[in-house]
């Protein structure tokens, strides 16, 4: 909790330093993304108030540029490769299966904050296609039926 207080203090500093410059919104958002790892609703409201702009403006910019994520990432980031090799070998079905098992869309995070599901470009492990990565650990030659088991393993891990 104090950690979050610290982060908001850091953001406040950034806002104060840029406040009177035109076009401050973009660098403040970038800074916030760096500090928090995402620009959530609370963070955006804080920025709007700090800079004296509307939440509409902040949200508009944040959703226009792909570099900003609106929600915090889950504890485990699952990236499924959609590069050509993996795609040809059926990585879309892997992605669909993950989405089904986790009950979230691609790009989403589970409500318990444990998993975030992402599609990525080639991970450079084409020999193992189709491939996915969970927090840096690579899983290759995947078929949809092995997915529930893998997820179960992570679910069972204690925090």
């Amino acid at each position: 909790m104090d950690q979050s207080k610290e982060k908001f203090a850091q953001l406040q500093e950034l806002i104060d330093s840029l406040k009177n410059q035109p076009g401050a919104l973009m660098p403040v958002l970038q800074g916030a993304q760096g500090i928090f790892g995402c620009v959530s609703e609370d963070v955006q409201k804080f920025i709007a108030e700090g800079l004296g702009v509307t939440l509409s403006e902040v949200y508009g910019v944040a959703t226009f540029y792909a570099q900003f994520s609106l929600h915090p990432k889950g504890k485990y980031l699952i990236s499924v490769c959609l590069g050509t090799a993996c795609y040809v070998k059926g990585s879309q079905t892997i992605l669909d299966k993950l989405s089904e098992v986790l009950e979230i869309p691609v790009g989403g995070t589970t409500p318990d904050g444990k998993f975030t599901l992402e599609a990525t470009r080639c991970l450079g492990a084409c020999g193992l296609a189709p491939v996915m990565m969970i927090n840096g650990e690579v899983y290759g030659r995947l078929t949809p039926d092995v997915i529930p088991g893998i997820i179960e393993k992570y679910r069972a891990k204690e925090d």
Partner: protein, 583 residues
């Protein structure tokens, strides 16, 4: 400063215009109307839709609404390539558009529809676009947003953010997913939208419209157990005629009264009566605050958009607000007490319908404090546009209908009430009464021209007896904010302020007939409609609220005196601080 004139040729026609004129405006001077879609004079000049492109000899076609005319420029506005270009834009727009012109609220007054007709675009799906399927947001008591018809022109966004200084809607996402919305999936009623409807009257299409409450009115009219009383606001009479082909600025008071009667209302009263009543209460409140050291400046409270703006964005001014309810609310309260008693009707059987130039009045009427004994002062609010729709639906020939008067008891009004519909009008009406109350002498000239006109912020010092009373008038919440900022900083000091949420006042309210951006280039609707009101004022036998004979009767028979006990119970209200977001 002397304006430098420049000369250019448009479609072979030579025109002279002041330096700084756009090619779009210059073309109008040459009698050429270049089609536009996103352009809104003075408000949205962003060159986004490219409907207005012209050939100025540059390598690419240029958007004329943002292209400054230059000396010696040769412009073509209508080449085959341009026509093709424009047609293509429209076809692309249509490919994602929910096309339902047969039933659309804006049909026959839609800028997109008109462009398609004029430019010969077929309504089929040339580009079979994938359509975004947006949920219609109809949770606000005043505003409905249907993004399936939005053409992304951003006119609503500019008005809301820059004219009204509110900014609760804006573009979100990018590319094909771009939409105009509130942030974080909030609905409009969760945002601090003040319900002013300025977004609606500036939208070119049917993507924005008022919450239609006419079905409720039809149901009341058909209910034999209900005694239905109607009252139209001052500004309605100055604009309703436009819906039936009368030129802008025609006052249709008598025809409106007849049409309301034909629709089947049991009594046709006038909100102007309520306006006179408001002045009696408000002038009394002002005089009291001045003589008893009450909170000053006192600020008017007739405009519910302004009230919500104050409660949300300037809560430190809540104590400055007059405690008077707005005229139609006062009328509603009097109809369900004074009138009901006099006519011996059970007030629970009475329904009051207000016809207003305003979408925020729909919100106001639902405020829990606007009523007594479990009865709302006003049961339904419909806008000028909704009334026009009802008249058409009922087959009433508005052009042929003869004129008639309002019903007596609460139908009489003075010129002071009529001008409530224009910015500065409430101030002027209050001054007429306050002056005579304070000095005990008759005004030689009842007209206060210092507070008239469409300037966003007006200031004046009025001599009343021995004292100088400094007053200010602001219209449009953006201007209101500027004025209040100055007071906050201590740079300005006034005794009495009038604020209306809509630029130009109620004549330009969010519930009024919609005028296209093209027509607004030629005419200022705030000026034209206000003229009708000031003319009606001049033609009235009585021009000061305290001279209204029915008001006098109301006080002697029922209320006692202005600001008295009964008044406070029925005609006054209170306000509350409001949050920016509600979950």
């Amino acid at each position: 400063m002397e304006e430098k004139m420049i000369s250019l040729t448009i479609d072979g026609v030579q025109v002279q215009v002041p330096n700084g004129t756009t090619v779009l405006e210059a073309a109008r001077k040459a009698g050429i109307r270049i089609p536009t879609l996103c352009f809104l004079k003075g408000i949205n000049e962003i060159g986004a839709c490219r409907m207005c492109v012209v050939d100025s000899g540059a390598r690419a076609l240029q958007a004329s609404c943002v292209l400054p005319a230059a000396d010696g420029m040769v412009v073509k506005t209508n080449t085959p390539a341009i026509k093709e270009y424009r047609k293509n834009i429209l076809e692309l727009t249509l490919s994602t558009h929910k096309k339902e012109c047969l039933s659309c609220i804006r049909s026959q007054n839609c800028e997109l529809q008109k462009l398609c007709l004029e430019l010969g675009v077929e309504f089929g799906d040339k580009y079979e676009g994938i359509k975004n399927d947006y949920t219609i947001d109809d949770l606000s008591p005043s505003i409905v947003r249907d993004n399936n018809k939005c053409v992304l022109c951003r006119r609503c966004v500019s008005v809301c953010a820059h004219v009204q200084n509110i900014g609760v809607i804006g573009p979100v996402n990018r590319g094909f997913k771009t939409a105009i919305e509130s942030p974080w999936g909030f609905k409009l009623n969760q945002m601090a939208c003040i319900n002013c409807g300025q977004c609606i009257v500036n939208c070119p299409v049917g993507a924005l419209h008022e919450k239609d409450d006419t079905d409720e009115v039809w149901a009341l009219l058909a209910d034999p157990d209900k005694y239905v009383v109607v009252q139209p606001a001052p500004a309605v009479r100055a604009a309703l005629g436009e819906e039936f082909g009368f030129p802008m600025g025609t006052s249709v008071t008598g025809k409106m009264a007849s049409a309301l009667r034909r629709l089947g209302f049991d009594k046709v009263f006038d909100t102007d009566f309520g306006a006179d009543l408001t002045i009696m209460e408000e002038a009394t409140e002002l005089v009291e605050r001045i003589s008893n050291g009450g909170k000053l400046p006192m600020i008017t409270s007739c405009s519910p958009g302004w009230i919500k703006f104050c409660e949300t964005y300037y809560p430190d001014f809540i104590d400055n607000l007059s405690s008077c309810k707005s005229p139609h609310q006062m009328n509603g309260a009097m109809i369900k007490t004074y009138f009901a008693e006099k006519m011996n009707i059970d007030p629970h059987k009475i329904a009051v319908v207000s016809v207003m130039p305003c979408t925020a009045k729909k919100f106001e009427a639902k405020r829990p404090e606007m009523g007594h004994d479990g009865m709302a002062d006003v049961d339904v609010v419909i806008t000028t546009r909704e009334l026009a729709r009802m008249i058409k639906k009922a087959g009433i020939d508005f052009n042929a209908i003869p004129e008639s008067d309002f019903d007596s008891l609460m139908g009489e009004s003075t010129g002071a009430a009529v001008i409530f519909g224009a910015t500065g009008g409430v101030m002027e009406a209050a001054l007429r009464t306050a002056y005579e109350t304070i000095t005990g002498t008759k005004l030689k000239d009842v007209e206060f021209h210092e507070v008239r006109g469409i300037k966003g912020i007006k200031e004046a010092t009025i001599k009343i007896g021995d004292s100088d009373v400094s007053v200010a008038v602001a219209s449009g919440t953006g201007n209101a904010g500027k004025l209040l900022d100055e007071i906050r900083k201590g740079n300005k000091n006034y005794t009495f302020i009038e604020i209306m949420a809509c630029p130009g006042g109620c004549v330009n309210g969010g519930g009024q007939p919609i005028v296209s951006a093209q027509e607004k280039m030629d005419k200022d609707i705030r000026v034209e409609r206000a003229k009708a009101l000031y003319e009606e004022d001049r033609a009235k036998a009585l021009r000061k609220s305290h001279d209204n004979t029915e008001i006098k009767t109301l006080y002697t028979e029922y209320l006692g005196k202005p600001g008295g006990h009964k008044s406070h119970e029925l005609l006054h209200t209170h306000y509350q601080k409001r949050p920016l977001y509600t979950d």
